[in-house]
Assembly symmetry: D4
Homo-oligomer: 252 residues x 8
């Protein structure tokens, strides 16, 4: 039972089309079903939309394509929206065989299939990326935020080494309700952005760089030490995590 | 010119009590004044309330008590709210000589003096602390969030080693609009909290612990790797930073 | 000479079926044989069952399949139970050619062939895993613990981000005599489990995660800093090591 | 209500001296009292002996002497055994004013006051220390283990650089049911001990050393990578943690 | 013999006031003196001005005040300019007793006494500092650069969190021939500055910050990973090192 | 519009061949064109030669060959010099199809195609490499420095373990205006070189080495801690970055 | 000219078979040849046997097979002994085409071809290895030590987890003049060996291990912190380096 | 019984002054005494001179002055030479009360009192230090080496930034049999020295430096990665350890 189904049922009750007792019975019957679908190798939690506002998301990394496809089919069969991250075209082939209208976003490495539309966020989430190499992470954030019901804008290739590119977009920064900033190398962009705006900035360090970037550690430390107010940080390359918290904020 | 003064002026214009041309002249005159007060050792930015929603905050660490007192006096003289973090009772003595109604919060190590009240946040910010040793950081977050115009609740001493203490407070977790979680040692509390609620969780690793806690690094890494959705992280012991982002979210 | 053979011999002496002097001669003769089988590239220690309670275990990593097969054949030829960890299906093909009833456990990457049964442990070892990706490590622990003579239970996919999944299994936690907990990412599960039970918890950090998990370091540090009592830790991904200490405890 | 009181009550029921219904009423009345004593700055959990087998232990580090004394008085007032770790002679003065028979163990930095005796462990816990400088950690482990109801033996100054000192004590190693090994510098002692015995070894890295010992990190890593079976590890300098898990094992 | 003395001697030769043969004799005599003054605890190298363009500089850290004073006296006695870094007012008292016109710069922690003026640099060295706490390092750079013969400008308190403060000084940035940028915390300022100018930027990470700044490591890594061209980096807090390379460049 | 074109136009104005008004119109028309060519996946900044003295450089790493070829074609179409770093022969094939006279330097992993010649540097840049394995980084520096308009000399295989090889080249060291030193392993060469000369030394740590070189970290730390004056450091393996700052210095 | 050739020539002079003047001419003629053979990509130093006691050794890693073969041919052509480390069978094929009697030692990954025999060492070098996986490093040390003129003994698979295997070889330990100990994982073996003998112990940490061994870092730190006297350490996996210092000691 | 006493006894036997049977009885009687003097807090091993060539050395760090004095008295009472490292003048006062002729070496922080002279080493140990700040470590090495029976030379303040200071001492380097090199900061000196000589070089990284020297880690890594042959490394600041291995080599 998705939140939409529940809302519709309660609306029917309010309109007098369904008896309260009957509605109660229906809800209880559904809840009596175990919310955990046990697939052997995974337990799919179908009550998560009710508790957490979004269905269980499949982290593709570390799962076989077959496992992903089986979980995906199970989620869609419950009328819930599908979101697979860190996945591949090869996995998509297997998912598509069971969920024909699933879409693959190659740069974001994400599979989506929208079913139960989420309530829309109150404003726009702006995804900012420092350079071309940060796009996979930025796109993961953008696609995930969109599928969670948020209008998403993109502002890419505006790294601090050419500050005029960023400053010329000052209006777009100010129109967003939440800003996600993905940057690797020295990770300075979130500090600069946060100094220009008055909304929450979610910083995503990326593993872009070489030498002493140490797989994103340099950018991560820079972001944690930001001298600007309003910056919080998620894990290296964690575009999905940034999207989740941005969406939570945007739905408040 | 604080936002309150500006709002009042514009209200006077709307009511016809002040001519638009006169108001314009007043605003321009104020803006013509340099917004930067140069104290020699620091530049106090008096337009920050307009750009960032809160006056410049004084980070006490690394400044002499005399420097803090001089900056504090300058801020209050402009009718702005005073907030000094990472400070001491000794500094407070000097500040108090110039700003008699300044308050000192010893556990939070914070000096406050409210002048221009900020617009209230839309919900409650809940500050959660794992153990007694995390209280200085948690209190820094709580005092700062309050002075930024947010109703603040506290839930302390609910670490994961005695889960029933946390679970028995499930209702209070659900009533908050934003949750700040301060924890040291293994840093597991934000993950557990985020799995129970559906609002943004700002995790603050604290430097509480010994041995392989490495000054809060263990908690920081744990929080960045949280398996729960909706957790973002600020710097170790950065209660003020958590309050800032929580307040930004709560004022959206 | 395995402990079983020795026990049988001594039982024969007790029953008067064998003369003490003869038994003594037999034992001495066996001991006179070098307990170390020198295969050129390895020295197989056939007295280890007597000293350590379990035959020498072959760590497959860093050995060629041919080397593993030769050592395996030598162990089984002495009537001892075979256990190969960190191995592959390819190696199993070679082992099977020499030890036809050897079994391969692909998820655990373990080859087993039970010969001389070990004395049974006194209780149950419960293996808990946070997520699907932790299963290879958890299964390595489970298979190894079983072949060492312990009843083993499994409780998988009960990470802290959905606490109800763990809490609903409170009874199973309480029925175990020793608990092994495998978790990656933020490594919070052992702390939560140890707060719910009153038996030793052996924590195994796994290298599951990305970004700032640094190959399991984040989970390792979290576990070492556990605020809960009764948690001790083994190396990252070391399911075998956890099984060994759990079995030692369970055989006390 | 301590476990001893409960056992006595149930024994009275078994003997017919107390009616089952009356016993039930007494137990319920006691349980109805909130088990959490809220001291403002701390929540003392008086049901912990029932859930965890030992009263709440006070970690002295990070608490003021006054806070420790108040919590200590509250614990003893409930008839429970007192254990304060990481404390000082100064704190003891304040505790003694409220709990006159409290004892201070200076080398271990521990305060104890035994009230409700715990059920005895089944064997002996042997505490082994590599060098003189490791004694504070080793003594913390020994005192804590003793107060938790375990017979404790000590074997000190047997570091691996003079192996004959350790080998000459082989018998004492073999007589223990659990062994705690505290070592700093290169941290090799637990591996050597575990290769000689057939019982669980709890390794405690100490921060003893200089240069590249990095505050115990060298010893910690060595212990986690032990090539010997049966070694698990606790945090650097965490003698109390080692005692807790050793006691849990010894009470199985 | 300082370069100035040598230049004057050669000028005298050119003018015919001194015979070439006599000049040669003088030079040889001077060179025949051992250029190394052995003070027992140090070897002062008096030919360094010839080889390296500046006399030997005394690193005060790790030397006793007496040692510093003795070396200082020896340097000044050779007609060379004195520069002591990382020193204290206490040391200055001793130096002043032997070199009465020595000056102490307390914020920079530097003692100077100019003797043999160095040839002037070709342009201006601009020293930029992110915040008030970075001033000791910035001042060390500024004082050292000045005593090495360079015109020095200062631009302080222009961190990236308030970008308008930096952008309003664009002209001053463009007028410099070399720019030294001192910044702690996230260390983003050198990247931003280097994106605005077309001259070499020497980045000095400072140990300003807390939590995950790890004593300047965060800033150091950020600067090494700068996405802007023309940034090179010196050691944490090494204002003197930055001044040296900036002066070398400015004298080319 | 490249700086050369602008200079020529202004020269025409000076000579009276072009009217100032017409020149102004031309310049404005050119500037009115957006200097940013938006290729979808990248924004090519064609005004960079004016602001930074060199066209935008393509970092090949993390871009597909098709992306590199498209950007390369766009840069050359604007009459600007092409420089692609961290690239491959495979990419060169695609670039060559669009820019037939592009050259590939395999050891340096660089593609170049000179168009608008840059003003020549004032002296020679000497590139020094410690060993044969450092040549890819050294060659990247050398090729990049040459294409930026600098005379380049090379001095390879002069590591500190055989000091006579370096000392015999003392003259060549002294003839350079800027020295780039690439070294891996213990990274001692820049300190030794800087002790022999009186010009800026740009140190490039390379990832050459094994064991505890930790991917160039050992060399990086050694260079940052150089006891010699005049050493600044760029990122590990960052030959291009060293060339850029060396060229900036050489063009002052 | 190798030391052997020089010794023979001087012996001829001593015996009166060669005139001193002629010998002098020969030596000067040889010395007049540049001792550095410049192969373009490398400078082979043919005087190294005179200065360092052994010809230049080729580190195969990071060189192409063709480069190795060319340098190898050049060394052998000068009558010097060939030693290539970190090489492959594929490279050997190319070397063999030019140096037909070159030998390949696959486990040690070393190519040798002895020409000018070195003076023999005074005692035996014993190479000890903890486990089978340490053999490549141990063999690199053994082969290199042998080709440098030292009698070499091997003692393998004697890790500290089964101490009796090591103790039973006490005599062999005592007969050596220098001992090389290669060990990974916890790196305890050198401490134990050094406690049993009275000769220098060269410890070689190996990258054997997983999880928190961090590529040999755990073993390296343990060895550096050895509580036993007489242990010095070389780089991780650096069997060649250990052989060099052991041979130097053995030739004193 | 010291080695000297034993040698004398055997000499008496050889000369016929003592009967073999009597000598045997004497030796056995002495050996029958426990070689371990148990002082309660320490076990003093009086057979160490026989096994290890030098009496037990007291590491002063981590022991109280009283403990050091008690152990010192016990060692001297057995006629053995006293060596206390990492100690203080305060401790020396207590030692002197019990061992009146004990000497204190303040820069080396070492107490010595020679009793049973050790057999002299075969050559000279040269102790080289890079700078003045490295002297405490260098002096610890020099004093310890001397008391172990070695002629010791010192060569201080010869860091690589002024190479001529080192090169001018080439003869002294060549006359040593073993060289100890103490250096902090970039740690390059051992590599340079080892490239100039043909004897073993023991490198001691010191914790001298600031910023990214990380307490000697930079120097340690540089020394482990030395490109020169014949360098082995001991722990940071471990002058005593370097002396021990140098003395072992010098006595071979």
């Amino acid at each position: 039972m998705t939140p939409t189904q529940l809302r519709e049922l309660l609306e029917q009750v309010r309109l007098g089309h369904v008896e309260a007792a009957d509605a109660c019975t229906q809800v209880l019957a559904l809840l009596r079903q175990s919310p955990i679908a046990d697939l052997g190798f995974a337990r799919v939690d179908h009550h998560r939309p009710i508790r957490q506002g979004f269905p269980e998301v499949i982290l593709g990394a570390g799962k076989t394509p077959e496992q992903v496809a089986a979980i995906a089919e199970n989620i869609v069969a419950h009328g819930q929206t599908l979101l697979v991250t860190r996945t591949t075209a090869e996995t998509w082939e297997l998912v598509r065989a069971r969920v024909p209208d699933a879409l693959f976003h190659p740069q974001a490495r994400v599979i989506t299939c929208e079913r139960d539309p989420l309530p829309p966020g109150h404003g726009t989430i702006l995804v900012v990326a420092a350079g071309t190499s940060d796009l996979p992470v930025a796109e993961e954030a953008a696609i995930c935020a969109a599928v969670m019901g948020n209008p998403v804008e993109r502002l890419y290739d505006v790294g601090v080494s050419g500050l005029h590119r960023l400053l010329s977009q000052h209006d777009r920064l100010n129109e967003a309700r939440v800003i996600i900033v993905a940057a690797g190398m020295e990770g300075a962009l979130p500090s600069v952005v946060a100094g220009l705006v008055h909304v929450p900035v979610i910083a995503v360090p990326t593993s872009v760089g070489y030498g002493a970037s140490f797989g994103g550690l340099a950018a991560l430390l820079a972001m944690l030490n930001s001298c600007a107010s309003g910056v919080s940080v998620v894990n290296i390359d964690n575009g999905f995590g940034a999207a989740t918290i941005a969406s939570l904020i945007n739905h408040l």
